[in-house]
C-alpha cells in the first residue's frame, strides 16, 4: 500500500520532468528551429540580384512591419524559448558523461557533437545578439540599424560593418552558424526518435540522410549569406541603394 502511495506521489512530481524535457525538444524545433531557418533565409537575401543590399533591406523591413509588436514577439517567440532550451540543455549536458574515446560509434560522436555545438551556439548567440541587436546597446553593442540618420536604408551596411569589424568576426560567425545548423539538423533527427516517429533502424537511417541533406543546404545558405556581408561594398553600393530605395518609395 505504502509503495503504491509513494509511487503515485513520485508520479505526480515526475510529471514535470517529462513535460520539461518534451518542451525542450519542442522549443528546439518550434520556434527556435523555424526561426533559425527564417533568419538564415533572410540573411541570404543579401545575395539577391539588383541593387546591393536592397532585397535584404526589404526583407528586414517586412519583419519590422510588426512595429511595436516586434518586441513582445521577439521576447515570447525567441528569447524566452531560447533561454529555456539553453537552461535545460546545460542541465542535460551535466547529466551525461561522454565516452567517445572508448566507443567511437557514429551515434556516440553525434551525441557528443550535439552537446558541444549546443554550447558553442549558446555563446555565439549571446555574442551575436550583443553585437547587433538593440538589447546590446547599453553594453556598447547593438550596432544594427534599419535606417541611417538621413532615413536611408542601413540594414545591409550596418550588418556588413559588424562582420568586417575585425578579421576574426567572420570566422566566429562561420563557426557559430555551422554549430547552430548542426545542432538543429541532428536535433531534428533525435526528435524524430524522441517523439516515436522513426522507430526502426532503417527509418532512422533514412531520416539521417534527410537531416544531413537539410543541414548541408542550410549551412550553405548561412555561409553564403555570411560571405555576402563579408564582400559587401559599404561605400557606393549603400548610397546607390539609399537613392534607389527612396526613388522606389516616392513613385
Amino acid at each position: 500500500m505504502s509503495e503504491e502511495h509513494s509511487q503515485a506521489q513520485a508520479a505526480a512530481t515526475d510529471g514535470y520532468h517529462f513535460l520539461i524535457h518534451r518542451l525542450h525538444s519542442l522549443t528546439g524545433l518550434i520556434p527556435i528551429g523555424v526561426f533559425l531557418m527564417m533568419h538564415l533565409f533572410t540573411n541570404a537575401s543579401v545575395l539577391a540580384p539588383g541593387p546591393a543590399g536592397m532585397e535584404y533591406q526589404k526583407s528586414v523591413e517586412r519583419i519590422h512591419a510588426l512595429g511595436p509588436l516586434l518586441v513582445p514577439v521577439e521576447i515570447v517567440g525567441i528569447f524566452l524559448p531560447l533561454l529555456f532550451h539553453s537552461i535545460i540543455g546545460f542541465m542535460i549536458i551535466y547529466t551525461g558523461k561522454s565516452n567517445t574515446q572508448h566507443y567511437r560509434y557514429g551515434g556516440n560522436i553525434r551525441y557528443s557533437f550535439q552537446r558541444w555545438t549546443g554550447v558553442i551556439a549558446f555563446f555565439f548567440i549571446m555574442y551575436h545578439v550583443w553585437q547587433l541587436h538593440w538589447v546590446g546597446q547599453p553594453f556598447r553593442g547593438g550596432s544594427f540599424r534599419l535606417y541611417n540618420e538621413s532615413g536611408g536604408p542601413a540594414a545591409a551596411v550596418t550588418t556588413a560593418e559588424a562582420i568586417k569589424a575585425a578579421w576574426w568576426v567572420a570566422p566566429v560567425y562561420a563557426v557559430g552558424i555551422l554549430a547552430s545548423v548542426y545542432h538543429l539538423s541532428n536535433g531534428i533527427w533525435t526528435s524524430l526518435i524522441t517523439w516515436g516517429i522513426t522507430i526502426r533502424p532503417r527509418s532512422q537511417q533514412m531520416a539521417g540522410y534527410v537531416c544531413a541533406g537539410f543541414g548541408v543546404i542550410l549551412s550553405l545558405i548561412g555561409l553564403g549569406a555570411l560571405r555576402g556581408f563579408k564582400t559587401f561594398e559599404v561605400g557606393s553600393g549603400a548610397v546607390q541603394t539609399a537613392e534607389s530605395l527612396q526613388e522606389a518609395t516616392h513613385h
Binding site: 510529471g15 517529462f18 551525461g96 566507443y103 551515434g107 556516440n108 526518435i193 516515436g196 532512422q204
Partner: protein
C-alpha cells in the same frame, strides 16, 4: 572451447605451450574490497588454442604471480554459463564492455597486440577485482514491473494466444540477460543522472503488449515517463552497438518515447 580446465593443475602452462605457446600479457585492475583503492597487476601467460578470458582468469588463479615475480591473490571474477547467456562475466576488456566467456584471446590480441587489459565495469560498485554489484539493474526491473502477473501457483489453464508476429517482436527483447553492457556504454547512465537505462526500458516494451502483462501497462509507462525514464535518454545509441544479444534496444527506446507521449496526453485529458 577451453580444454583441460580441471585436473591439470600441475603444469597447465607447459602442457598447452605447444598449441600456441606465444606469451601475452594481461593487465588487471585489482581492488581488494568495495571501498579500497585500485591498482594494476600484470600477468604473463602462454597462449592456448581457443582461450577465452575465463580461462585466462583460471590460469592466473592457478599461479597468481605477477610479471614482477610477486606472489599475489587470485583475481576475483564472476562466471556462470560460459556461453554468453547469463551475463555474469561482463567486464571491460581492452576498453570495451563485453563478456569474458565469449571474448577470445586470439581475437583480443589482434585488436591489441601489446596485451589484454581487464577492468571491472565502471558504472557499478566493485565488490572485489572484476566482480561488481549489478543489483541496481534488478531494482530497475522491479520498478518497471518486468514480469507477467500470476494469481498463484495452481493450474489456471492455457495462457492467452499470442500471434507469431507478436512472438517475433517479443522474442529478441526476451533475450536480455541483464548483463549491464548497455548501461556501461551509455553516456547517460552515471552517478549524475537518474536514468534507468536501455535494458529496463526494453523490458517494459516487452511486457506492455503481452496479453497478461498488459495489466500493468500504465504503471510501467508512468515509470518510463518519470524521473530517470525515457526523457533521460540521449540517443547516442551505444546500447544497441554493444548489446551482446543483438536486442533492438533503440527500437524499444523509440517505442517508449511514443507510448509515454500518448500515455501523458491520455492522463492530461483524465483518462
Amino acid at each position: 572451447m577451453a580444454t583441460a580446465t580441471h585436473g591439470h593443475s600441475k603444469h597447465p602452462h607447459e602442457e598447452h605451450a605447444h598449441a600456441n605457446g606465444r606469451k601475452f600479457t594481461v593487465r588487471v585492475l585489482r581492488q581488494e574490497m568495495a571501498h579500497s583503492g585500485s591498482h594494476w597487476e600484470t600477468f604473463e601467460l602462454p597462449h592456448e588454442e581457443g582461450m577465452n578470458i575465463t580461462t585466462v582468469l583460471q590460469r592466473i588463479a592457478a599461479n597468481p604471480v605477477t610479471t614482477d615475480h610477486e606472489q599475489t591473490t587470485p583475481v576475483a571474477y564472476d562466471a556462470c554459463c560460459l556461453e554468453e547467456v547469463c551475463g555474469a562475466c561482463t567486464m571491460v576488456i581492452n576498453g570495451r564492455v563485453r563478456q569474458g566467456c565469449s571474448a577470445l584471446v586470439h581475437k583480443l590480441l589482434e585488436e591489441s597486440p601489446t596485451g589484454i587489459e581487464l577492468r571491472p565495469m565502471t558504472k557499478f560498485h566493485v565488490v572485489r577485482d572484476l566482480v561488481v554489484d549489478r543489483s541496481p539493474m534488478f531494482q530497475h526491473l522491479k520498478r518497471i514491473k518486468a514480469w507477467v502477473r500470476v494469481d498463484g501457483y495452481h493450474d489456471v489453464g492455457p495462457g492467452p494466444r499470442i500471434s507469431p508476429k507478436e512472438q517475433e517482436e517479443a522474442y529478441p527483447l526476451s533475450r536480455c540477460m541483464t548483463c549491464g553492457c548497455c548501461l556501461e556504454a551509455c553516456p547517460q547512465f552515471n552517478d549524475r543522472s537518474p536514468f534507468i537505462g536501455p535494458a529496463a526500458i526494453s523490458q517494459a516494451i516487452l511486457f506492455n503488449p503481452h496479453p497478461t502483462g498488459r495489466v500493468d501497462r500504465d504503471d510501467r509507462l508512468a515509470v518510463l515517463a518519470g524521473q530517470g525514464g525515457i526523457v533521460d535518454c540521449g540517443n547516442s545509441q551505444n546500447c544497441v552497438k554493444v548489446c551482446p544479444k543483438d536486442i533492438p534496444l533503440t527500437d524499444s527506446i523509440a517505442k517508449a518515447g511514443r507510448d509515454t507521449t500518448i500515455y501523458k496526453i491520455r492522463k492530461w485529458f483524465g483518462r
